[in-house]
Amino acid sequence: MEEGRFVAWLRKDGDLVPEGEPLFTVEGDKATQDVEALSAGVLRIAADGPAEGDTIEVGRVLGWILAPGESIPTTGPAGTGATAAASSATAPTAPTAPTAPTDGLTTDAPSESPARAPSSPGPSERPPASPRARRAARQHGIDLATLSPTGRGGRLRERDVLTAATGRADPGEIPGAPQGWTSVPTPPMRRIIAARLVQARRETVPVTLTARADATALMALRRHLKSEAAPGESAPTLNDLLLKLTAEALSLHPMIAAVWAEDRLLLPRSIHLGLAVDTEAGLRVPVVRDVGTSTLEEIAAATRRLIAEARSGRIAPADLQGGCFTLTNLGSLGIEAFTPVPNPPESAILGVGTIVRDVVALEDGGFVARERLTLSLTFDHRVNDGAAAARFLQSLRGLIENPPFPIP
């Protein structure tokens, strides 16, 4: 991770904060994370500290934790002179990478000098910058000293300036948009989604099978569970039921959850299932742990928490990792069948379509109305053949049509 979006300060300038207290929230590539104070002290926010929504680079100094009575350091680069010259309690506060903490505080690139306060700029503190970066900085009105260099030897490059500029400028102000178009910065989340999808498309051989399942019994169960729920409590959802049934089917067909690793296949020891969640910031896939050994209630509690956290953008990175198979449901949007893309490194994904009421012909020539849904299974043909995938779907369909849950 090189940058993140600053969400908010959780404490005010001047607050006395204990060690471990969350200081601010930052949105990274995959998740949003609170950054905690590494030592107790007084929070001093930098005069040009980030505003909500600003893009901030890893290594940028946002503020300081000072010992009582200590003042903001005025010389030396962050992490070196500043720390050394000030008391031991002084520590520059820089954004860390939520998914890779080692990227964070220990930046190896020269970062902003605390002395870059407007009152005391000094030429010697300017980081080296390419001429092109300097010109871009002039054009965008950006102070080079606020940037984190990505060039060799700590040199600021044009891309460093443009990254900062796109984080601050109004949409459409990014230079280089073709005539007749306005451009908006690509959000980090979108870039991650794109990269993972392209990777999946490039490296796998996806095949999608669809099958219709009679969901009448399952829907009856769902209605029953709803009616049983205590007032104010929520019952397990259709997705919870399907997660449980999918785990059952995967226990019968473990190869469907296998992961391709060139000379070997990796089979999961536990069934952790991803659940695709549509959020304002885009698609997120939190992982429900140990679905195979969890009760329906435990699954429901887990999905409730994960969906809420994903939608609020506060989900922990750990909750986004470790799945072996994913379930994605576009039924609420009226979609019947589709071709979902597996979430790497997983090799298969199940798409669930909308429940439709179908007229079904009976053996005796009569007709009956049934609730049915379409299952769309995309699997990596490197890992499984079509027949194996079809057998998995067949088992899953049987489980849906005859749910093995005890109905009180």
């Binding site: 390419s130 001429p131 092109r132 060799r152 040199r155 490059r157 891309r159």
Partner: protein
């Protein structure tokens, strides 16, 4: 005035008197500070210039030395224009560009006086070659001193003139001092005329202070030359009675007594006595003539002194020909007539077309005649155009390049095919001091359409005398154009431009590309110099490469494309003029510049491009400019050593990757 009038003793007397009076006036002006640079007089030697030039018409070119006032005046240069040149005035015969040592008046056949001893001999031979090609019976003359006869140009020039029976007079003014070194002390055989026998040409030794004896010998030599009898060497023994140059001491290397003795043998006084003795003139008439000439010299001084100094704005005009009118020229796109041709066949098409269209074009080189060239550069042309226009030369690069210079000065368009660029370093002085500077020295009155072509580049274990690049060296000198094509298509169009232009062109062909095949349009086309080719558009980095390096870089680009690095590759095609604009435009987009150059880095084309980018495109740079060059060493022979001194595909790819990471 009839020919008889011009060669009469009285006419010679007048010419000699003009030379003497004007030079005496110049000597006074030098003491007055009117002459800014050197002033070499020929006082005491006037009979030779007067007698030789009396037999020449304005179309007969002469080539002279640093001691050339007498030749200029005898050939018909206006004394006022000559004096003005020494005074550095706009009305000077070289428009203030030359001074005493670079007097030019091609309109009367004065093809220049020179500060370098020797080249005038080769240039006169070249003028003789022009006569041969054009069949116009002009006779050319080289004036030179005894100092020049120990120079290679003398031997190479006399030999070539003799082989090809060129209509040339080689006039040695043996004044016994090579500048200030006694000739006798620096020569094994003081008999200059005897040297003619070594090359099989008629030679005469004359009393150079006897105007009538010189006149008679010249009469015979000119007649022989005009009638196809070939060249003559005339040794005219004489003595200059003033110092080597005005203001210099004269008695450190010779004695006053010796000088005084020679003053007693003054050629002017001697002819005056003859005129009176033979009653060809009377005292009254001669005195009147002497007054008239005295007044003429004073008038020349007065007009020169009154003339304006040249405007400084014009100081760099006439370095090369002016821009060609008309729309830009580029190779046509691929059409039905496009064939896959090897590089050497593509250039042969351009040369063949040009030779058919322009009878002034001829080719000089070793093995370019019936053999068709070491690299088949003239294959089949000998049969079509014959030995005069496809001339196999002795192995004397300096000689035939100097000859080409004189030919270009006198109306033909020589192509020198020197096989390998290394060989022509022997002729560097002729190229750099003469060919490159001639248009300027003549204030734009002499175009210099000379094409100098040959192979450059490392490969085939050719080792260090067949592998240099040299383009950066030539591009350093104003007046030269330097072309380094990388494809058969470009080579054909660029050679066509070279063959139809009016400036000297170094056309350097990479040895490893001579067999390279590529699409070449069948039709006739030209490609303008100074327009780079964008070989391959790209996004992340600009790479500039020439010749073989274009192809190696292209290969590297393919490797890098798979890694997501998009390279824009630019081939300048001509090193002089250099299309910096296209490179600037490219770097404005990519922010990164690498120059891949087989030649040495130090003071090379890469350094020039880098400097121009730093000057004009500094703000576009997002990373340091990088160069990847051949190693700074002579070229080794062994394949393993040879490969180690040239950038290869892997090295190029690695340099590009590295710069992209900056």
């Amino acid at each position: 005035m009839t020919d008889a009038d011009r060669t009469s003793p009285l006419a010679l007397y007048r010419t000699m008197l003009v030379i003497r009076r004007v030079e005496e006036r110049l000597a006074r002006s030098h003491r007055l500070g009117l002459i800014h640079g050197a002033c070499h007089t020929c006082v005491g030697q006037e009979a030779i210039a007067a007698a030789v030039c009396a037999h020449l018409g304005p179309d007969d070119p002469i080539f002279s030395t640093h001691r050339g006032h007498g030749h200029a005046l005898a050939k018909g240069v206006d004394p006022g224009a000559m004096v003005a040149e020494l005074y550095g005035r706009e009305t000077g015969c070289s428009r203030g560009r030359g001074g005493s040592m670079h007097l030019f008046a091609p309109e009367v056949g004065l093809m220049g006086t020179s500060g370098i001893v020797g080249p005038c001999i080769l240039q006169a031979a070249g003028a003789g070659y022009s006569s041969l090609v054009l069949g116009d019976q002009r006779v050319s003359v080289a004036f030179f001193g005894d100092g020049a006869v120990n120079n290679g140009a003398f031997h190479e020039g006399l030999n070539m003139a003799s082989i090809w029976r060129l209509p040339v007079l080689f006039v040695c003014e043996n004044n016994q001092f090579a500048t200030e070194v006694p000739f006798a002390s620096v020569t094994g055989n003081p008999g200059v005329a005897e040297r003619g026998a070594a090359y099989g040409l008629p030679s005469v030794s004359l009393d150079g202070n006897d105007a009538l004896a010189v006149e008679a010998a010249v009469r015979e030599a000119v007649a022989r030359a005009r009638s196809g009898g070939g060249p003559t060497l005339l040794e005219c023994r004489t003595y200059r009675t003033r110092a080597h140059a005005e203001g210099m001491g004269d008695f450190t290397y010779r004695t006053r007594a010796e000088v005084d003795a020679w003053k007693e043998r003054c050629p002017i006084a001697r002819l005056r006595a003859v005129l009176l003795d033979r009653r060809l003139a009377d005292e009254t008439g001669l005195v009147a003539l002497e007054h008239e000439v005295e007044a003429l010299a004073e008038a020349a001084h007065a007009s020169a002194e009154a003339a304006a100094a040249p405007a400084p704005e014009g100081a760099t005009t006439h370095v090369v020909a002016g821009p060609r009118p008309g729309p830009p020229r580029e190779a046509p796109g691929t059409g039905p007539g496009t064939r896959e041709l090897p590089f050497a066949r593509a250039t042969l098409e351009a040369l063949s077309t040009s030779m058919s269209q322009d009878p002034r074009i001829f080719v000089l080189g070793e093995g370019i005649g019936a053999r068709g060239g070491n690299f088949a550069t003239t294959n089949g042309l000998f049969a079509a155009h014959g030995p005069v226009r496809l001339r196999d030369t002795p192995i004397c690069e300096r000689g035939f390049v100097g000859l080409a210079c004189g030919a270009a000065m006198t109306g033909t368009r020589p192509v020198v095919d020197f096989m390998f660029a290394d060989f022509v370093l022997d002729a560097a002085g002729e190229i750099i001091n003469q060919i490159a500077k001639m248009r300027y020295m003549s204030s734009g009155r002499l175009g210099m359409p000379v094409v100098l072509r040959g192979c450059i580049g490392i490969g085939h274990s050719a080792a260090t005398h067949h592998s240099g690049s040299y383009y950066s060296m030539y591009a350093h000198f104003p007046g030269l154009k330097v072309v380094v094509p990388s494809t058969p298509r470009d080579a054909k169009g660029l050679l066509r431009t070279a063959l139809t232009g009016d400036d000297p062109v170094l056309f350097l062909e990479h040895r490893e590309l001579m067999g390279l095949k590529g699409p070449v349009p069948e039709e006739d086309y030209s490609i303008d110099f100074g327009k780079a080719s964008v070989v391959r558009p790209g996004r992340d980095i600009t790479v500039v490469a020439l010749a073989l390096m274009v192809h190696r870089t292209l290969e590297a680009c393919r490797v890098l494309e798979a890694e997501g690095i998009s390279v824009e590759l630019i081939d300048p095609r001509t090193v002089a003029p250099l299309d910096v604009g296209t490179i600037l435009d490219s770097v404005a987009r990519t922010g990164r510049l690498l120059i891949v150059d087989e030649d040495f880095a130090h003071c090379g084309i890469g350094a020039e491009i880098a400097a121009r980018l730093a000057e004009h495109g500094f703000d576009d740079l997002d990373a340091p400019i990088r160069r990847l060059n051949g190693s700074p060493s002579p070229t080794p022979y062994s394949p393993s050593l040879e490969a180690a001194v040239v950038p290869d595909v892997r090295g190029i790819a690695s340099a590009i990757r590295d710069l992209c990471a900056e």
